[in-house]
Amino acid sequence: MSISKYPLVVISHARLLDSEELHTIILKNGIVESIKPQLNSEQATVADVTTPQFIDAKGQIAVPGMCDLYARLREPGLTRKGSIASESYAALSAGFTRVLCSPDTQPAIDSVATVQLIKQRAEMAQGAQIYPIAALTVGLAGEQLSELATLQSAGCPAASQADYPLGNTNVLYSAMEYAASFSMPLFMTARDAQLGAAGCAHAGAIATRLGLPEIPVAAETVALARLLELCRETSCRLHISRVSSARALRMIDAAKQAALPVTCDVGLHHLFFTDNHLAGYDSNFHSEVPFRSTADRAALRQGVIDGVIDAICTDHAPHEHDASLAPFPSTESGLAAYRWSTPLILQLTDVLGFTLKQVFEKLSTAPKRIIDGNASSGLTVGETAEFFLLSDSPLEPVNVVLESAGTNHPLSIHSPADIGLQPLHGKVTHIFLQNRHHTI
């Protein structure tokens, strides 16, 4: 990947998500100057400007930059797994211009110093824009509230308990009331502190056959019921991160019908994989939020189609090689998403029966709206540039750019057909973010 900073960039022959017509996009000092249907005389109109950069985007689509609502960058403290530089670059190469990073670093993101460290490193890395999610409790220990107002002022758009338990309902109630005082949204994953806590697989026929410790659906729904009732009580903005089951989805739907301030997202891989994929004890499928039954996956897909699920996140979790070298229950959970996310996202058109525009709506506009009601698309005249060019050409796994530190992903060892996927295609070629232009 290379970076250039031209004051003027002219992109010709680009398709847009909502138009089959080819367009010319002109960027001036990082601002989208114009988006116009392609004219033969286009180059003449800018010929008087000195040193423009021309990009012929023939066969490519211009897509607003995506916003990932949940990813782990592993820094500070876990740099054997990944770093802000490696992961923010990996995110950007996959078309994510904004990333909300999980607070489960070491130390957790519970102080302004850690927030500043992350922001500085992210700026130096010149990858995706990083928004640190504040740890809801100090050290994610589930006891004492973090300085949420201060962390919000320091740039945290939301607070979360990550995958750490919060058993004390008093603390949760307080946290939600307190966060509501500052209109700070909480990103919460519904998982009971005790039920299924020792589990590593969805409680179903596969876990029974493999003898894997189980995570019942009730581990999600019991926790979700508590969150939704406290949301009703406190009016705290609640975002349910990484929904996994049909029953949880029905509860969220009912809460939305009752006009509670609730939104939710689903992990990208949960729209593809089920507990059946665990059959060979393949630790590449070991996800903290478990892959559940085929019926659950169908419900999650329908939830995205119906709009009950507002957004799709990657749940990116890079690991060092050794983290997967153990029997399944002892491996560290999580899939490193960015290396394979583009072709998977493109397959969502088939999986969901969506147009590309509808798919990217769930990954760009919708998630941006969850953290910022006034967020711009990144590909609108007069606004700061924040978009990428996407080539739909077939992708050979060997050609996949290694940007993320993690290789813990099923596609690292399986062919797409082996794990129920279509042949892979699609690659991000250029990214325009403010006045930076990245070529991959």
Binding site: A207, T208, G211, P213, D322, L325, A326, P329, I419
Partner: protein, 326 residues
């Protein structure tokens, strides 16, 4: 969708013995038939055959075990192998060495076969995938997943007494959820075509969607025992009482214990089996465990012949593979 079964070698023969799930009836029958031949060895004055002479078998037990380890040791000795017992419970793994590093060190000692017991389900699969191809793995129990040699010795015991499996009604009582023995027994019984397999226990000890394994759930032991040909008890571990799974051993015995009165509900010639060690007065009455229908000690004895059969088949296949590759 899953990784390929690591149990088979390039010739399609059994290379590791990990899980009965992936094996078909013919292999199970071959093991049982071979074991028949070995029962004679155990009755001889010189209890040895030279099939594994010059081979080294290592017992790698990451979990405590006396019975299974001893049975494997005897089986290997009677096949004339050298046996190495590695105490891993108090060894390097507790010092933080990874399982794979431990494995590499033991590989370097140039053993031919590893008998592995580990507390994680899937551990034997993991080891089979990462071990050097010159080493054969036998699963001596992995987590809650499988204990295939126990499964086979149970089948051997049943076949010796009952002959055919097709008309048998087998009842498995107790902690199915946490039992690798139950899973391997169910798997073998299904493969060998058992007429009916019933599982009995409180819901806390029955795993999710257990019917998918090919069994029927009976909440009442009294109903389950009617017409039973084989009754298999399972060990109820003390930690089940601490984890709120079962209130007390007394209540368990009252509701699910195999008492003489309950035994009377089964067929008069029903076999009583248990993988041991038994908790008398918890899952089984002492008089039933010691009674004339009990084959619990026979299971232990047959365990040697069955393990000899499995080890010799695997080692024979390894020789075939080496010949084919040279």
């Amino acid at each position: 969708m899953s990784l390929t079964d690591p149990q088979f070698n390039a010739l399609g023969e059994l290379h590791h013995f990990i899980d009965l799930d992936g094996l078909d009836k013919s292999i199970l029958t071959q093991i049982l038939d071979t074991a028949e031949g070995f029962t004679g060895v155990n009755d001889r004055t010189i209890k040895k055959v030279p099939l594994l002479r010059g081979k080294t078998v290592a017992n790698l037990f990451f979990e405590n075990s006396t019975r299974t380890r001893t049975a494997f040791e005897l089986a290997a000795t009677r096949l004339s192998a050298d046996i190495l017992n590695v105490d891993l419970v108090t060894s390097s793994t507790t010092k933080g060495e990874s399982l794979l590093d431990t494995l590499r060190v033991l590989e370097a000692l140039q053993c031919d076969m590893f008998i592995v017991r580990h507390g994680d389900s899937g551990a034997a699969h993991f080891i089979a995938r990462h071990v050097s191809p010159s080493i054969n793995i036998i699963n001596g129990g992995d987590g809650q997943h499988a204990h295939p040699t126990q499964g086979m010795l149970d089948m051997f015991t049943i076949r010796r007494h009952k002959g055919d499996f097709s008309n048998l009604c087998v009842v498995i009582i107790g902690d199915i959820r946490h039992s690798r023995v139950a899973r391997s027994d169910i798997s073998a019984l299904v493969k060998l075509g058992a007429g009916e397999i019933r599982v009995v226990g409180p819901r806390t000890l029955i795993p999710a969607e257990v019917e998918s394994l090919g069994v029927k759930i009976y909440p009442s032991i009294d109903k389950a025992l009617i017409g039973a040909d084989v009754i298999m008890g399972l060990r109820l571990q003390k930690e089940r009482m601490q984890s709120a799974t079962v209130p007390s051993s007394g209540e368990f015995y009252r509701t699910y214990g195999l008492s003489p009165e309950r035994l009377a509900l089964a067929k008069p010639d029903a076999l009583i089996m248990h993988p041991g060690p038994t908790n008398r007065g918890v899952e089984i009455a002492g008089s039933v465990a010691d009674g004339k229908q009990s084959v619990i000690l026979e299971q232990v004895t047959y365990g040697i012949a069955v393990r000899m059969a499995i080890m010799s088949i695997i080692m024979g296949n390894a020789t075939n593979l080496r010949r084919a590759q040279s």
